[in-house]
Amino acid sequence: MIDGINLFQTVTQKVDYLAVRHTMLAENVANADTPGYEAHDLKPFTEALRTVQPAGMLATHGRHMVAQSGQTTFREENRVQGWEIEPSGNQISLEEQMIEAADNTRDYELATQLMKKHVSMLKATLSTRG
C-alpha cells in the first residue's frame, strides 16, 4: 500500500518537467521573430526522467560523499526540427509552439489534479473508522 506513495515523487517530477518545458516554449515564442533562432524543447518525459536522475556514485568508503539527487533540473535540450524555416533563418512556428504550450498546460492540470486526488485517497484511508 505504502508503495503507492511513489506517485508523489513521480508527479512532482512531472510537474517540475512541465514547468521547465513551459519556460522553453516561452523562450521559443518570445524569440518567434528573432533572425536565426532555433526552436528547442525538452526530451519526452520518460527519456528526460532517465537522464535527469544522476547515476550516483557508489560509496565504498565511509568518507565518500554521495551526490544528492533532486538537485538536478530538466535542462537537457533537444534541438527540434520545426514546421518551417523563415527566410531570416528563424525556425519558430508560432502555431506549433502554441499547440505544444496548450498540451503542456493540459498535462500540468492533469498532474496537479492527480496529486490532489491521491491526497484525498490517502485521507479517505486515514479517516476510516471501525
Binding site: E27, T34, Y108, K116
Partner: protein, 138 residues
Amino acid sequence: MDAISATMKIAASGLEAQSLRVRTVSENIANANSLGSAPGADPYRRKTIVFEPQFDKVLGAEIVNVKKIGTDPGDFSLSYDPSHPAADAQGYVKVPNVNPLIEMTDMREATRSYDANLNIIEQARGMAMSTIALLDDR
C-alpha cells in the same frame, strides 16, 4: 527562480519587444508623407527593428532583446511637384521609402506574436493557480 515566474518574465520580454516593433511601425506610417523642406532634401527614412536572443543569467534562459533600430537603405521614389519647397531643379520631390502595405503586414505579425506571448503568460498563471489549488483541503 522558479520555472513559472521565469516563463512569465520571458514572455514579458516578448511583449516588450513586440510593442516596440509596433511603435516603430506606427512611426513609419505616421511619417509616410513627411517630406523634406529644402530643395532636394531627403524625406523621412523608414525605420527597421532587429531582435536578438539574449541569455538572462538570473532566469537561466534566453529572453528577446531589441538589437537595434536601424534605417532602411532603400531608395526614395520621386514625385513630380515643382511647387513644393523640397522640389529639386527638375521639379521632383523625394518621397519616403515607406510602403504602407509592408508596414501593415509587419504590424499584423507583431500583434500576432504579442498575443502569443500574452497567451503564454495566461497559461503560466493557470499553472501557478492549479499548483496553489493543491492547498485547497477538499
